[in-house]
Structure formats: C-alpha cells, structure tokens
Symmetry: C2
Subunit: 189 residues, 2 copies
C-alpha cells in the first residue's frame, strides 16, 4: 500500500510517500516540504500548496492520502491556515478518487514512538530509525509527513478490522431487534 503523508501548513507543508508492506515493513519513497511566503495572499499560497500536492499525486500515484487532523492550536489564524492547506490537498485527492484518512497528532505520535505525547525530537528519531534513514529528515514538517504515512500504514489494517467488527455487531443488533419484534407480535396476538 502506497501512502502519501501530509503535515498540512501554508508556510511549510510536509509531503511524504511511503510504501507499506506486510507486517510493519515500511519503505520511504520521497519526502519534501512545500513553502509559501507569509506575505503572499491566502489564495495564492493555497494555490502553491495545491499545485505541489497535485504534482506528487500524479507522479507517485498513492492509494491513500493521510492528513494530520487539526483540532485546535494556540493561534487561531495558524489553525485556520493549517486546516485550509489540508482541505485543498484532501480536495485534490478526492478529485482523483483517492481516499483521504485523517489522524490526530497524538495518534501519529503513539503509532511511531509508542507515546501519544512524544516531542518533535523523539518523533524525528523514531521516523529515522523505522525507515532506516542515514540522516534525520529536516525540517520537522518533513519528519511529521513521514510519521503520518507510517501511522497510516500501521493503523489502516486495524481500522479496517474495527470497521468490519462494527458492521458485524450492527448486523447482529438488527437481527436481534427483528426477532424481538416478531416475538412481541406473536405474544400480543
């Protein structure tokens, strides 16, 4: 499974491509950071980020795009910009029929370091080790994009199993409710 990891942002947007194999095997394919000047207008900055992501979608043809889910940040303006950068990339994937998955920062940290509150240095160190890289990826946005892709490779099978289990449970609940309704009808006759 080829995954594109995205650490969304307008000033720096981390992009990565990772191939997930059987078990926990993950192979790095590419990593880069798209930058836009803070003094540019928002629409122009979104255009640069979208163009960068679309070029990668067309070049590397990932099967899924994993984007960091932004909940809140101290700076509301930064949080909005981050959400918008993630939004235009999700749109680019949707236009190509590529599914988009969102993972929270703590899910990503927990997946790669085993600790949902790990700091940036720990995440970078684990990403470097997991992918067997000779040097640590820089800046932090590049490492985060790789961490997102790794997180997706490892969480996706579990999420699939959970979705199937939930569907089976829902079917069982429906059958039980139907049987109960029939029995009640039989009793009330």
């Amino acid at each position: 499974m080829r995954v594109m990891g995205v650490d969304p942002g307008l000033t720096r947007c981390g992009l990565s491509i990772v191939d997930g194999g059987s078990g926990r095997k993950v192979t790095p394919v590419a990593v880069d950071v798209v930058r836009t000047p803070p003094e540019w207008e928002l629409a122009q900055r979104l255009l640069v980020v979208a163009d960068g992501a679309e070029a990668w979608l067309d070049k590397y043809r990932p099967e899924v795009v994993a984007v960091e889910r932004v909940f809140s940040q101290h700076n509301v303006r930064t949080a909005m910009a981050t959400a918008q950068a993630g939004g235009v990339i999700a749109l680019a994937a949707a236009r190509r029929g590529i599914p988009v998955a969102f993972h929270t920062p703590s899910q990503v940290k927990a997946a790669v370091t085993g600790n949902g509150t790990a700091d940036k240095a720990q995440v970078t160190a684990m990403v470097t080790r997991i992918l067997g890289l000779a040097v640590a990826p820089k800046p932090a946005d590049a490492a985060d994009a790789l961490a997102l892709a790794i997180c997706h490779c490892w969480r996706a099978p579990m999420l699939d199993r959970m979705a199937k289990a939930e569907e089976l449970a829902a079917q069982a609940r429906r059958r039980y409710a139907e049987r109960l309704a029939q029995q009640r009808k039989a009793v009330s006759r």
Copy 2:
C-alpha cells in the same frame, strides 16, 4: 464590477452574484446554497462545494470573489470546516486568476446595516431592501452571501483609496528619509 459573495460552510455554503454600479447601486444576479450531507467524508464534501463554486465562476465570470473571513467560532470543528470550504473556493478563484477578498462578519454587518453587531434578521431585511427583492432570500446563508457581495461592492473603492493613500504616504516617508540622509551627509562633511 461583478462580485461573487461566499458565505463558506460545508453543510450549507451560500453563493451569490451581484453587479456593483456607480455609487451604491447594486444589482442581484443570482443566489443559491450548496449543501452537503454531514455524514459524508470531509474530502467528498469539499469536492461538492468546490464543484459548485467552480460552476458559478465559469458561468457568471465574476471579477472578484468576496469570502467571509472566519476568525473563531464556539465549535472548533465547525470553524475548521468553514475555513476549509472558504479555502477550496479561494483556490478555485486563484486558479482562474480571479482576486479573492476577505471581509469579517462585523465588516459585512456594518456595511449593509450600519451596525457591526446586527443580527441575522436585520441583515436579511437590509439585503432584501438594498437589492429591491420581492421576497427575503432564504436560508440565512443565501442572505449572508448576498450581504458579502454588497459589502465588497461598497468597501472595494474605499479599500482602493486607502491602499493608494498608504502608498503615497510610504513614498513621502521614503523621500523625507532620503532628504534627511543627504542633509546629514552635507553637515558632516
């Protein structure tokens, strides 16, 4: 000047087209609301909103797109969704070389009602009167999209004048600094 007004949102996204004439003359051309089901995935919802906005950009060919600037809302998830819907529309405009302007809710309310803290009913009533509509536009998102376009028609000339005045002031400051530097050089000789 033809303006497309956008009240961004994922559940309901208001779109409007208004032609601004000389003075405060504004003529309504079109208004609609794009809706997406809340249970759909984010990327699919963004795709529907973007497709809707792009169809309007191509059909009505506005000279500028005016989008409501989202600062913060009580619900962080809603604020993010709103920012993302506005982001994909700003991107669609940028791809067509159409400038995008942002106005805050209080700027919009102040422009159409004279009161930056007006409520939705007041905004709708003034929009209906300003545009000479037979019936009030519904839902509120449609009225807000019209209010945004009107706000832009009325604020744009003032914003242009302010930008020109600021440029003139900056030029005067530069000339003054140059003269001062020359005089200091002359004195120190």
